[in-house]
Symmetry: C2
Subunit: 376 residues, 2 copies
């Protein structure tokens, strides 16, 4: 049983402790408060109207700066003052019901605890704020069922639009959005057959670039560690790898390609690396097609009696703290996250404003060469 410090509870100002509570095997004190009423009723237009002695309409007009030319300056001033005094805050829910615009966008990411998603979330939130929009979010953990459920929840909350990183097999749900003309933008991934806006990396080109870089630095047996997935971004990254080999006159060796499952099982990656390094004609380098893959990979590699880049070159997609702080910082593809997030919001805003044009964009990734791929 864990012990909990209670010093703060016992300090002055927090008296009247009446009982212990047990939640999840944690024992702690609770503060017994005076049994006050329900949550306070919030100030509405009605309250202001009553206070000033005018109709609700007039209050609404004044606070929304509408029909100002028709409204007397004095009354307007009185209303504004009363609103300030009462600390009026407009009820977005009521407003949303009436106007059919909630000023919220739904953000559906693959996994918010992954740096890619959380960075993107931050950028999107910042950009949305410029348009006076709030972000409602859901993290579906690459689970299609959960993704569907979250999408429903967001729609039920009448979001004005959605930004989505789609999971595998969610075409049907996305088609529903198209059919119902609910504005949305895909980010990071997309379905070729689905006529919708999407912003993503030029994965094929990036895969080619990263592979070519390894090849041009003397690698001949590049182990590819990638997801077992039909999602377009992964598939394209793999294709880029194959294309680069071809352009350099090399044959694809299937034994060098290791696919691991989503969500990641750490041991699967270790196993894959072990096999790649112990085969008769072993890999002289590794290419990871996502940050989670390289992070897990590195965790295993540091345990091996192997020196990067001399014994093994490494390259990966995406940035990560792990890639930065590994003793040989990883050569990687840097995605233009800022641009992608901003464009996604801008595209969505246009769609919400009834702009029916589809924006389908694949941005170039930047090859950042570092120590991990440059053997002496």
């Amino acid at each position: 049983m864990l012990t909990i410090r209670l010093q703060y509870l016992l300090k002055e100002g927090h008296r009247h402790f009446t009982k212990w509570l047990k939640i999840n095997c944690f024992l702690f004190y609770v503060h017994k408060a005076d049994n006050i009423s329900l949550m306070k009723k919030r100030v509405s237009l009605k309250d202001i109207a009553k206070k000033v002695g005018v109709s609700i309409t007039l209050v609404s007009y004044v606070l929304n700066n509408k029909h100002l030319n028709r409204i007397s300056k004095q009354i307007a001033e009185k209303i504004k003052q009363a609103a300030a005094e009462l600390n009026y805050k407009p009820n977005q829910v009521a407003k949303g019901l009436k106007t059919n615009k909630t000023q919220t966008i739904g953000l559906l990411v693959a996994d918010i605890s992954n740096a890619f998603s959380s960075t993107m979330a931050r950028i999107i939130e910042n950009e949305a704020e410029k348009y006076n929009y709030t972000v409602i979010f859901g993290s579906c953990d690459e689970n299609t069922e959960r993704s569907k459920k979250l999408m429903d929840v967001l729609i039920n909350h009448q979001v004005d639009g959605l930004i989505i990183t789609p999971t595998e097999h969610s075409e049907k749900q996305l088609q529903y959005l198209v059919d119902n003309e609910i504005p949305f933008v895909l980010i990071d991934r997309f379905y070729e057959k689905l006529a919708c806006s999407h912003i993503s990396l030029d994965n094929f080109e990036a895969g080619k670039k990263l592979t070519s870089h390894l090849l041009e630095n003397g690698c001949r047996r590049i182990g590819l560690i990638t997801y077992r997935s039909t999602i377009n971004n992964i598939v394209e990254r793999n294709q880029g790898y194959i294309e680069a080999l071809k352009e350099h006159g090399l044959e694809l060796d299937d034994a060098l390609v290791k696919e691991v499952s989503i969500p990641i099982v750490s041991s699967e990656i270790s196993e894959a690396i072990k096999e790649l390094l112990s085969m008769p004609n072993p890999a002289d380098s590794l290419l990871f097609t996502a940050n989670m893959l390289s992070t897990h990979g590195l965790r295993y590699i540091v345990t091996l009696p192997i020196k990067v880049p001399d014994d093994l070159a490494i390259a990966t997609f995406d940035q990560s703290e792990a890639a930065d702080l590994f003793y040989a910082p990883l050569t990687h593809i840097k995605q233009p996250l800022e641009e992608m997030g901003r464009l996604a919001v801008q595209t969505l805003m246009a769609a919400i404003e009834e702009n029916k044009e589809l924006v389908q964009l694949q941005l170039p990734g930047e090859l950042v060469v570092r120590k991990s791929s440059i053997a002496k």
Copy 2:
């Protein structure tokens, strides 16, 4: 000018391209769609009622499983079927207006792109989902102004409650929540004087534990790298450091304490470390009081001709990829994130259900000893 691949745009099914667009120096194609109507009107109770030929009330009762004993089985069946056929989705906004419950909670984190926040966000979202709650979030980037603004936005959206990581100097805004009886729970940090629920780490004890560990492993000159802040968690961590020194019969040497500003300026940390290591009686170890501090610190330390832990021992608060993948994985305090997130949601749910008891809890951190602090 960056080039954009257009292959997907040019594929079949995407015809009628009419113009180039230029956004943020990216050039790309847009798809000119048929100019269809506005967003489709969504299905409402009214539509179902009309289809079945009953009143709206009855539909509402059936779909909410209310007064079931009074409603004829056949009609109920018909209604359910019609709802399914029309793919009815309840309008949470309308429901929220009527019931004064939006089934949303607002989450205000310090910085969503920080692993602490994003992991917490994920846990909180998962837990909230169990209660049928959706999370609206804002990331205030440790900025009090922004925090105030976001809080207002969330309140305007009539969230049923809030989970907040408060920034410095936001007491006033939090007091407003108390005064207006808006349920909320602080997480990670709190204000002693504010009578509200909060869940956080036992920072003092953790700071003491981490410092004692270093001392007991032979360190005598522990450089403390911490934030220049009055926020309780940082202050307590510092106090824990001081208390541990005292208990081990050591005097606090102010020269060993380096405070850096929020948000972090990387060079400031490098500078601090440089000073600590170059003083007449230099530090033999470093204690970082947050993950961002150690991550930036490590970035600098890897550039130095110094061997951890032999030349310099290191310990830090919080886990991070960087701490894991550094050649000498960092000894650290592991926070019970899962527990904290879950308790925060549970506490908030109780508060929303009119439970007026305050829960104030400081959970113990776990000392995870690794290579960075154990000199040979």
